[in-house]
């Protein structure tokens, strides 16, 4: 039971809003000490895993210079202008389409998209542009909500398409696990059974996108109403 101290440290640290890096470090040190590791040993573990997992940070570091360059020359503004010309677009529809593209492409083994490479420079501005094309300027709060949903569209599309493709991490990991326990489970069967949840995920995204569109519409009429009354 005492091994769970790290979970407690993380929960308490997040709740008290301490710096997350420090909370994580403290949780690792507490857990390691309780499991009988020395401080030096814990630092060694941190160092080893930190270096092993550099691949998580690598794409962001390499992509931001070119994205920054293109944004300097108006990429976000272009994405916004581009979407304004399409009729019948709403932020929800832009995001739902992106989720679908992401799910289908990753199910076929093609990993396009990403938060740094697609969401920030293209998808979020398009969703915002779709909202502005309909309602003009929007309150900052609703802009933030639209952006948060753009990140959600990326995550949902990414997570719930991936398991349908057999040659990626998740299915191979499951296969490897079953082999280690002596069970022979077909990768095709596991991939097939990822499909129902993929459809559910798309339906859930459709529901959230519809709600997002309604929220944007409501916020827009409220601001317009407030302006009409000459309010603050």
């Amino acid at each position: 039971m005492i091994k769970l101290i790290g979970v407690l440290v993380v929960a308490a640290g997040f709740a008290l809003r301490f710096n997350t890096l420090l909370v994580v470090m403290a949780a690792g040190i507490a857990t390691g000490l309780c499991a009988g590791m020395s401080f030096h040993e814990i630092m060694t573990q941190f160092g080893r895993f930190f270096v092993e997992n550099r691949y998580m940070t690598l794409p962001v570091v390499l992509i931001v210079p070119v994205i920054g360059l293109l944004e300097h020359y108006g990429l976000q503004e272009h994405a916004e202008r581009f979407i304004r010309r399409a009729r019948a677009v709403t932020p929800g529809r832009v995001l739902l389409l992106y989720t679908a593209v992401r799910q289908i492409s990753i199910a076929l083994g093609v990993n396009v998209g990403g938060h740094a490479g697609a969401v920030r420079p293209l998808i979020a501005p398009m969703a915002e542009g779709a909202a502005r094309a309909r309602y003009g300027d929007l309150p900052e709060k609703i802009v933030q909500t639209v952006r948060a949903h753009a990140a959600a569209a990326e995550n949902v599309g990414n997570f719930f398409g991936e398991d349908i493709f057999i040659a990626v991490g998740a299915v191979l990991l499951m296969k490897g696990f079953f082999e280690s326990t002596g069970l022979n489970v077909s990768v095709w069967e596991m991939a097939l059974w990822g499909l129902p949840t993929a459809l559910v995920a798309f339906a859930a995204m459709w529901w959230r996108c519809r709600r997002l569109d309604r929220r944007v519409a409501r916020a827009a009429t409220e601001t317009a109403g407030a302006e009409g009354k000459g309010g603050p």
Binding site: I42, R54, V61, V66, I67, G68, E77, F160
Partner: protein, 320 residues
């Protein structure tokens, strides 16, 4: 043998980070000049020399980075990006051509993933087939940078200036995914997962087929929330709850259990700040005021998918 490894791209990223640190050190108007410069320089060292210096030294460097961040010595610069009017003026000149470099990133990544792994000269492979996706993506970023520079005729320091600004927008949260992966590793070594699996298994009446499914799915989601990673949860929870109760006790189908169980774990990923690369870093990248805004947007989706997963598994796992 492989000709190109990820190590080469880590070195390039290290140089980028070192240049970011250098820019900050030269910027007298930076509110947290020396702390920030030190933070990015330390990170650069782990990218440039990560495999050369001993892990224990990296561990202490990481500790130093955490202390700098906690002491609020890592901050954003005062300099702003170019004004909107200027960006719009450029946009009116370049129009659709602006999209090409942005699309080159995924295009190169896909083509590279499909082709690079197959290239070999006798016994010498061009790239390691395990690293091919990341190498292709990194290559895509560099190719796109070249195309972007050609298109905009921007001076070479522009991508550095803009990239540096974007990286500082993300700030110390950039290394959070790596830190959490390290914490996950320490949790795994200490056996935290086994304890959680035991608690769930002993606290619930798993002799009921539905409770077994619920315990497995909830275990996957909860442990993923704690670890930030469904892959880490899978072996522990499937070994501790799934196999003994769903498969052995109730005769469920392991393929259905695993496929849907992993996806129940992903619902946990949507909910946890521990999955920083999916939930926290994007919030910083999109300049959201609330760093948990992405999680809040995802919470209803995760809840809906989770419930559907439990029902799907219950109705299918014992039937097929």
């Amino acid at each position: 043998m492989k000709l190109v490894t990820l190590e080469a791209f880590y070195a390039i990223a290290g140089v980028v980070l070192l240049l970011v640190a250098g820019r900050i050190a030269m910027d007298a108007s930076h509110p947290k000049r020396w702390g920030s410069a030190a933070f990015w320089a330390l990170l650069a060292v782990t990218f440039l020399l990560g495999n050369v210096i001993p892990p224990v030294v990296v561990g202490y460097l990481v500790l130093a980075m955490a202390v700098l961040a906690a002491a609020q010595q890592v901050g954003r610069p005062t300099e702003q990006g170019v004004p909107r009017a200027e960006r719009v003026a450029h946009e009116e000149r370049l129009r659709h051509r602006l999209l090409w470099p942005a699309l080159l990133i995924p295009a190169t990544a896909v083509a590279g993933t499909l082709l690079l792994g197959k290239v070999h000269f006798g016994g010498v492979r061009l790239v390691d087939s395990k690293q091919v996706t990341l190498i292709a993506l990194s290559l895509g970023a560099l190719v796109a940078l070249g195309a972007g520079l050609r298109l905009t005729r921007a001076p070479v320091h522009t991508p550095l200036t803009e990239g540096s600004r974007l990286l500082q927008t993300i700030g110390w949260a950039l290394v959070l995914p790596q830190m959490l992966a390290a914490l996950g590793g320490i949790f795994a070594r200490a056996g935290v997962g086994e304890v959680i699996a035991q608690i769930v298994a002993s606290a619930l009446p798993t002799q009921h087929a539905f409770v077994a499914v619920l315990a497995y799915c909830a275990g996957m989601a909860l442990f993923t929330i704690v670890m930030g990673n469904a892959f880490a949860a899978f072996a522990v929870i499937t070994g501790g709850i799934g196999l003994p109760f769903i498969v052995r006790m109730h005769g469920g189908n392991p393929a259905i259990m695993a496929a849907i169980g992993m996806l129940a774990g992903y619902c946990g990923t949507l909910l946890t700040p521990m999955a920083a690369n999916f939930n926290i870093v994007p919030a910083m990248l999109l300049e959201l005021k609330d760093r948990h805004a992405v999680i809040k947007a995802q919470a209803p989706i995760a809840a809906a998918i989770f419930i559907a997963n439990v029902l799907l598994m219950y109705f299918c796992v014992y039937r097929f």
